[in-house]
Assembly symmetry: C2
DNA sequence: TTGCATATTCGACATTGTCGAAAAGCGTTC
DNA sequence: GAACGCTTTTCGACAATGTCGAATATGCAA
């Protein structure tokens, strides 16, 4: 691990949390001398990864990140394949559909279809949810034991009163998830919101993403038709990616 | 400029261009030994800025960029203020509206409202356009002379047959743009598409963004009403940002 | 204007990244 | 099915590079 790059990435992460920070504040967070931090920030700024806030002496994240992330989304094969299927899923179920991928101990939403009723809904692409509190995340963890082991070895944060933070309880769920290729979550991330998720596998059989539908907890549990639509969606996407032997199995991974 | 960070950023830029690259390919592009590149890529990967492509030995941009860029958009004060005004602009004019900011020699679209007719339109947020070929970009250059000087000192790329690549011609336009607080572009970026843009200034009077409406070239030129709506929009956003003495003037900048 | 806090510059030092060489994987060909 | 060639990955000595203290400049507040 190259120190300078590690520090640069930590600068970005700090700005991700705090939005606007001066050199001294950053130096405090990173426990480094201000002059060192200054050199790092200037280097990032030269590439547009960090920008000086207009009319201030503090720094914020830079526009180059937006361009990079746009290309990132374009690069994702799963996303391109999944889009038409999730749209159909949202249409058939009348619910909002999400496609999520693993980002360390969180799930990041890489595509989203609003529920068709047209109610005002925010743009969710790019949002992250702690894996243990979401159906998407539980799917990804269930099929990625080494990540699950690492996560369960740390204390888990509770987001609502209903978030499951007990490692043993989660392990039981993971086993059931793999067995049924289906994960649930009731009010565990957001009160009043529940979801169901299924795995998406690529040609090698590795689970690389998950699809979910989100519904008001008042409509819980989902009808059997919804579960079938969801399963079909994941199956269709996986098939497009070259995976045919549904359901997927837990596969050992390199993790490198 | 810290060398390691510069190299890391160049890795990201290379992946932005090529989507998928192996260590050897990257080493070729950056003109560095593969072992050096490997160290850099691994460091970026540890922070999710780069990821190994599923089932391959090449690398691509990573999901952490999406999270960072989402926070970037959230931190932009202009964007938050502008959204309701551009929506109104799109509604009144029946055209698609854009909000753009400077990213080196390009404009990056930080917000977008589709034209209300509901035709299928792609998501433009995050797209970049060479500044000299867009109305948004020409506004930003006209109010940022040092950037304009730097850009005009380099050869300009032609995107369509109508792209203006002559520095002298552009300088003439810049003068007119500042005078009228209005920039035009006819088929200069995309054939069949033309646009008009106006500056957005912050409390200090610095032009930090631009708003535009895009229309089919067949509807060119825009009616006076459109120009008025556009001007009003920019004025309202600027006022929300604390700038009152419309129109903005070219202001000297630190550029640091 | 003065004073304080923060950002920025500079340069000597030694920590840190670099890069050649060697090893390990992977895919492909014969 | 085994051996080749290509690419990725590991390792460690060297010196180039980043680091950080001190000094300076800048900006904000009183």
């Amino acid at each position: 691990m190259i120190q300078a790059i590690d520090r640069a990435a930590r600068v970005l992460t700090s700005l991700q949390g705090a939005r606007h920070l001066g050199i001294t504040e950053l130096a405090g967070i990173l426990e480094l001398p201000p002059s060192t931090v200054h050199g790092i920030v200037k280097s990032l700024q030269a590439h547009g990864l960090v920008a000086k806030e207009p009319g201030g002496q503090r720094y914020m994240l830079g526009p180059a990140l937006l361009k990079l992330s746009n290309v990132y989304l374009d690069t994702l094969d799963v996303r391109a394949r999944a889009m038409r299927w999730t749209q159909e899923l949202a249409r058939r179920t009348g619910l909002s559909a999400r496609l999520g991928a693993e980002l360390f101990d969180e799930v990041i939403i890489i595509h989203h279809n609003r529920r068709p009723d047209g109610s005002q809904q925010m743009l969710e692409t790019g949002l992250t949810i702690p894996s243990h509190a979401s159906a998407l995340g539980k799917v990804l963890l269930a099929y990625h034991p080494s990540a699950a082991d690492a996560l369960l070895a740390t204390p888990l944060r509770s987001l609502t009163g209903d978030t499951i933070t007990d490692p043993a309880a989660l392990r039981v769920q993971f086993a059931q998830i793999v067995e049924r290729a289906l994960a649930f979550e009731e009010d565990e991330a957001v009160l009043g919101e529940s979801s169901v998720a299924v795995p998406v596998a690529d040609r090698s059989g590795t689970v690389i993403a998950a699809v979910s539908v989100v519904m008001p907890s008042s409509e819980w549990p989902p009808e059997a038709g919804v579960l079938n639509d969801l399963r079909e969606t994941a199956r269709n996407i996986s098939r497009e990616l070259g995976f045919t032997s549904w359901p997927p199995a837990v596969s050992p991974r390199d993790d490198d």
